[in-house]
């Protein structure tokens, strides 16, 4: 669900860069304050994971594409701010090197996938796993639900951003200048596929990874870092 160049108008792109800029600054400050040297390899693994899992890019009948993201999983392990950094780096490499997602849309893509999705998913996880022991099954289930909700937040926002374009930018005769589909098409297109298919894949990936890591090393989880 990476938005390419040419799908969002200039003000929309600028708006999301402006929104992300302070978020990136805060993320860097939080990282500077909390990142421990022993967690750097885990951060590298987390970012590489989001990069490679997003490459499982499947076309959706009806014309769109979807893929798992992995950002919520990284947030469960490293906290939402570091997960935001991990997803941002993935998206920047994908845009510059592989043309996956536009350069002008990096702000919007980072907002959807690296901020809104990650933070929503992370706090859903925290809410459901509240007070649960680090190796409990409630945390595994919380991770699955958080993954499902997190990816759907991103899909919904992507649909809204694309769907608003023909309303904001059109010629006098009503011809769309950027993304052509209105909200009533763009939102269901993104959301239905993610509610029905990609949400479940994301849930399974997040849940299984948490289950595996609980057994391997409970000290990996963010809540044990302090």
């Amino acid at each position: 669900m990476h938005i390419p160049d040419g799908y969002l108008g200039p003000q929309t792109c600028g708006f999301f860069y402006a929104v992300m800029f302070p978020i990136w600054i805060i993320a860097a400050k939080v990282a500077k304050r909390t990142l421990k040297a022993r967690h750097v390899p885990l951060l590298a693994i987390g970012a590489a994971f989001t990069f490679v899992i997003m490459m499982f890019n499947v076309p959706i009948p009806g014309g769109s594409t979807g893929h798992p993201v992995g950002g919520v999983l990284v947030a469960i392990l490293l906290g939402p701010w570091l997960a935001c950094i991990a997803v941002t780096i993935s998206l920047v490499v994908q845009a510059f090197l592989f043309g996956d997602g536009g350069l002008t849309a990096i702000g919007a893509n980072c907002f959807n996938l690296g901020f809104a999705s990650v933070f929503t998913g992370y706090y859903v996880y925290r809410l459901i796993s509240f007070n649960a022991p680090i190796n409990s099954n409630r945390r595994v289930i919380a991770a699955g639900i958080a993954g499902y909700i997190g990816i759907n937040v991103a899909a919904f926002l992507t649909g809204v951003e694309l769907g608003l374009q023909p309303l904001i930018y059109h010629t006098a005769s009503g011809q769309a200048l950027y993304a052509p589909y209105k909200l009533n098409v763009a939102v269901p297109m993104m959301l239905v596929s993610h509610l029905l298919v990609f949400g479940w894949i994301e849930a399974a990936v997040t849940l299984l990874a948490v289950k595996y890591l609980q057994k391997q090393d409970p000290a990996l989880f963010y809540e044990t870092h302090h």
Partner: protein, 95 residues
């Protein structure tokens, strides 16, 4: 084996499996995408994780390009994070 080694191997495995997203739709004859593709500003060196002209050479060649791109991306990201991590943890929080 150290856990980080295991996790890196897991990521390598994912890189090797990454062309599945290309192969399955080919199999089911699904439609092409509309949100990921067009470029105006910037010519990416490996657009759509593919080598130049690999489309005509068939799915096996495309898959090879995809896996190579995945590994290249992973290496670049790992180096970027290790450098950033070094900078961010320079003072204090050493452990």
């Amino acid at each position: 084996m150290k856990l980080t080694t295991k996790l890196w191997l897991g990521i390598l495995l994912l890189a090797l499996l990454s062309p599945l997203g290309l192969i399955l739709p080919e199999y089911f004859k699904a439609g092409s995408d509309w949100t990921e593709g067009s470029r105006i500003l910037w010519q990416a060196p490996l657009p759509e994780y593919a080598f130049k002209g690999s489309q005509e050479k068939g799915l096996l060649y495309v898959s090879f390009g995809y896996i190579t791109s995945a590994i290249l991306g992973i290496v670049i990201i790992a180096i970027a994070i290790l450098l950033i991590g070094k900078k961010l943890t320079r003072k204090g929080n050493r452990r």
